[in-house]
């Protein structure tokens, strides 16, 4: 078990901070979209009686 574990750690170090930055940006865009739409409808809720 220890051997593959070690291998994995070194492999991930190379990829870790460089190669998934587009993914991070994409999911945050998605997150902001969720927030904007939610706040929009919440505003309608507050505005209406």
């Amino acid at each position: 078990m220890a051997q593959p574990g070690l291998q994995r750690k070194t492999k991930i170090k190379v990829e870790d901070s460089s190669s998934l930055k587009g993914t991070l940006a994409s999911v945050f865009l998605l997150g902001f979209f969720l927030i904007v739409t939610w706040v929009g409808v919440f505003y309608l809720f507050v505005e209406r009686f």
């Binding site: 994995r8 991930i12 991070l24 945050f28 997150g31 209406r48 009686f49």
Partner: protein
């Protein structure tokens, strides 16, 4: 199980966002009184017409309550009683409604008044009519062939 650093950041951000959403609606519901309509009172649907307050549908002034008026509606296939009602601007109103037969909806278009009328149960919603205009009431839960003909009207007047 390995979780990538960026995925951790995303999941913390996402979960925090959801917690904020929940807190906002939670505080609004439990502290500011904006609960969704959840009246627990029951009624015999076959005797609705003879029981208060449904024996007097329409806008009724009340005294000694937290609200100024009670606006009572009775729904049945395929109409609402009353078919039209005037409410003074700024009135704090408890809308009280029920159904005599099947499930109906009670939706006042363009407002937050939107509740289900389940046979056997009373539905209530407390609100202040703070905008003038004509508001369409319609049934938004399927109730039969005339479902889309079921309508009434609230006029909020100065």
């Amino acid at each position: 199980m390995h979780i990538h650093k960026y995925e951790k950041i995303w999941l913390i951000f996402g979960t925090a966002t959801l917690l904020v959403f929940l807190s906002v609606v939670g505080v609004s519901a439990f502290y500011l009184g904006n609960q969704p309509p959840s009246c627990m009172a029951t009624v015999d649907p076959e005797k609705v017409d003879t029981l208060a307050p449904f024996n007097k549908p329409g806008l009724n002034k009340v005294e000694g309550k937290e609200w100024d008026y009670e606006l009572v509606f009775v729904a049945s296939a395929f109409n609402y009683t009353p078919g039209e009602v005037e409410v003074p601007l700024g009135a704090k109103v408890k809308v009280i409604a029920t159904t005599k037969d099947v499930i109906h909806g009670f939706s006042v278009a363009g407002t937050n008044i939107n509740m289900m009328l389940t046979p056997g149960y009373i539905s209530e919603y407390l609100t202040t009519f703070d905008k003038t205009g004509e508001f369409l009431i319609l049934c938004n839960e399927y109730c039969g062939a005339g479902h889309h003909m079921m309508t009434s009207k609230i006029k909020v007047v100065e």
